[in-house]
Amino acid sequence: MARIGVFICHCGENIARNVDVDRVAEAAAQIPGVAHAESYRYMCSDPGQRKIREAIVAQGLTGIVVAACSPHMHENTFQNAVEGAGLNRYLCEMANLREHCSWVHSDREEATSKALELIAIMVEKVKRNQPLAPIRVPMTKRALVIGGGIAGIQAALDIANAGRDVVLVEREPSIGGHMAQLSETFPTLDCSQCIMTPRMVEVKNHPRIQLYTYAEVEAVDGYVGNFTVTIRRRARSVDESKCTGCGACTQRCPQKKIASEFDAGMGQRPAIFIPFAQAVPNLPVIDRTRCTMFLKGKCGLCAKACPAGCIDYEQTDTLVTEEVGAIVMATGFDVQPPTLYPEYGSDPDIINGLQFERLLSASGPTAGEPRRPSNGEVPRSVVFVACAGSRDPARGVPYCSSICCMYTAKHALLYKHKVHDGQAYVFYMDIRAAGKNYDAFVHRVIAEEGAQYLRGRVSRIYRDGDQLVVRGADTLSGTALTIRADLVVLATAVTPRPGSDALAQKLSVPYDAFGFASEAHPKLRPVETNTAGVFLAGTCQAPRDIPDTVAQAGGCAAKVLALFSADQLEREPVVSRVNEATCVACFDCERVCPFHAPEHRELRNRAGDLLRVVSHINEGVCAGCGLCVVTCRSHSIDLAGFSDEQTFAEIGALAPF
């Protein structure tokens, strides 16, 4: 016989103002099965929780309904309280009298009667709740990190240094990511490569890190603690075991005029190339789409040049399989090309911020001297345009790319440092400089370095002879103005790396309309995803700067290590279960499950003869969405915590209103 306790919270005045809590408590006590009903000013407070615990013990309650705020607010609080009194935590339900009632209905009479019904509904549900126990599964204590930029490197090093093995997969021929491309970093003006390169080397030499470059994740199977990952190692056409990185092959290559990816098109590279001098691993790769040998079937100059004989035109992609227990997604970002706006046109002297980084970088194609792509001259006047694609719902992306204000200020400063008599103009909409010492940095650029900041957007850019005419506005003075510039640098929008959406699908991680991977909770679970065991580091989740990325990567490492710290995995028990007796093995559940949780289970008799094959939900994988439950025509599947019976009971309590 059910003995349900109902605890009604006043939430100070928040509920009590519009709901007659005393009347509700009186009426709730009359609901069949309710053994105890009371109201209190703050149920979530210590004394409030104590009331619940005491009532459970004193009255021998079998289920609890806390009628208070949203379960998203305090379900955990009350489940803990219930557990403290020795009752299973899943025998506690919440009726949402605040967000769904008192805050949205001002008619006290209506709100009061609705409140009572909401309680009645939850009473009927909780009567049918079952005690549930957390699910335990074994795991592989080894992590996969996808992406070898600063986020992936940091996460891999943190995990490896804590004594766990890491597999690091990088798509490009070298790790380093965008940070290796940068000139200097704001606001301290550290040389980016100087602080990045040692980290890259550390990764390469770390005994606990297995590094795959020029490789991609092909498939992900399994579930938290037990992922099986298939990695495609693309053919470098170079035997890694023999190559010494001497570079003789790259010098002999007849194709020298290929736009360098590392230099963002500002420099050139051969068809066999080492992306940059400090590349890790320091190995060349043949770009088969541009190599004469692959296009025309003859050349072979690099093979002749190689003293170690390691050029291998026949090499093929290979697939390797790795078992891991956790995955860190750190696929990074891209910046849009500087050709988004037709009113800006496309002109060699209109470049984006990343291209300007390469022009400013000592390792760049101009050895750090800013030069105009059109004619190689040093620009005397540079216009920087912030928000060139960001915060533009009509034609760009609606979000703020977060890093542009700061790197544009840095660009203006570095330009002024290198071209003392040059003039830098910065068009901006708002200066978002919320990091440590950031605002002071921007102020320094404006006040001390003499960059002319103009508050407004640029409407049009066109070429006039040797120069570009930039028509913008300064809204602070309310003037439209025209600037003649030698170079225009657009702070184009930060977007996720192409293909990261496909990877997110493989990992069953949701992503937003722009392709940024979605975290489990924007405030409280910012590095977790809704797929257990998959974590997000860096800009694959949202645009952010280096310190934030490093911090988030560290957070990922901590989450991975925490996961690995237990002997076995523990999971929320809201999972589907199959009634094997009635399962007709159509396996529609398998077809619909986004997580591949349903498996085929063979039922055998004692002699070992196969009787039937039925569906079995792997509890370690099941995320508890209940899609299989609805799909199953024989209703042989049910969802713990949201069972058919519970839901029917809730509906049954609805009428009459």
Binding site: P342, E343, G345, Y462, R463, D464, V469
Partner: protein, 289 residues
């Protein structure tokens, strides 16, 4: 397809050389350009300045006439009228409330069965560039033309859906088919000041000054236009530009139809080349047989 020509008030007045040359071109190409019977003013800027409903209703009235006269399309030469008529159609199609109000005013269903096309679209899409090139008698070889589209042909892009709003090429392609060399210049879609011509001619003068300067520096012999208001500003105001700024351009502003007509073999008088303030005939002498 049955079309009716909507001239608009200007083509019966200051822009009659545009009308004249458009008719000459279409006659030579065998395109029917019968005027819409009983057409009325589209309302132009003053109407939409005053009431959005009035503006759409005045334009819709002409679409209604075309519909009643069983026309599939209304062909417009004046960029301003074109803009009003196409906008009216667009707005009625996309805003149900407005459509209802217009229907109330017109006391008739909204005439959405009639398309609105610009004369350039007629030449490009209906007639075709190859067919046009085949009819050219006197290729305009060597003539450098700055095509000026102005505002109302191309903007707003979502409504007009005419070419690329920032870098349109329709007129360039038509004139290139006639053998002319069109120049790339930054003024293509910059504003000439439009009807500020009457109330604030000083503004128009400075805008026209910049446009002429850009066209001249791009090496243009003539500026080609598709709007009587643009033509008037670029042509008539040149003396004011000189008076106000001291800059002297002597750059003829002609209708693109005048150039097409020329290539098709029409004479100066037939095309109304005598009617502009900056005489284009000396520049075009080589093609005037």
């Amino acid at each position: 397809m049955s079309v009716a020509f909507y001239p608009g008030c200007s083509l019966h007045g200051t822009g009659n050389d545009y009308a004249q040359s458009a008719h000459a071109v279409c006659q030579r190409l065998g395109l029917d350009l019968t005027e819409l019977e009983g057409w009325t003013c589209c309302g132009s800027t003053p109407a939409h300045n005053t009431s959005a409903l009035l503006s759409v209703a005045l334009s819709a009235q002409n679409l209604r006439l075309a519909s009643d006269q069983q026309r599939d399309s209304l062909v417009v030469a004046c960029a301003a009228c074109f803009n009003r008529l196409r906008s009216a159609r667009h707005e009625m199609a996309h805003d149900e409330v407005l459509r209802g109000r217009v229907e109330h005013v017109l006391e008739a269903p909204a005439p959405l069965d009639v398309r609105v096309d610009h004369l350039l679209e007629l030449l490009l899409d209906t007639y075709g560039l190859d067919a046009l090139a085949a009819r050219v008698r006197r290729p305009l070889t060597g003539l450098k033309v700055a095509c000026y589209y102005g505002c109302l042909l191309v903007r707003p892009p979502e409504v007009m859906a005419f070419d690329d709003a920032e870098h349109p090429t329709s007129m360039d392609r038509v004139l290139a088919a006639c053998g002319a060399e069109t120049v790339d210049w930054p003024g293509k879609t910059e504003c000439c000041g439009a009807n500020l011509s009457l109330s604030r001619s000083d503004i128009v003068v400075s805008l026209v000054d910049r446009l002429l300067d850009q066209a001249k520096r791009a090496g243009a012999d003539v500026v080609a236009v598709a709007c009587p208001l643009c033509q008037a500003n670029l042509d008539v105001r040149q003396t004011d530009v000189t008076a106000q700024t001291g800059h002297r351009y002597d750059l003829p502003a002609v209708y693109f139809t005048q150039l097409v007509g020329l290539a098709l073999g029409a004479g100066a008088d037939e095309l109304g080349l005598d009617k502009s303030f900056v005489d284009s005939r000396p520049t075009l002498a080589g093609w005037l047989s």
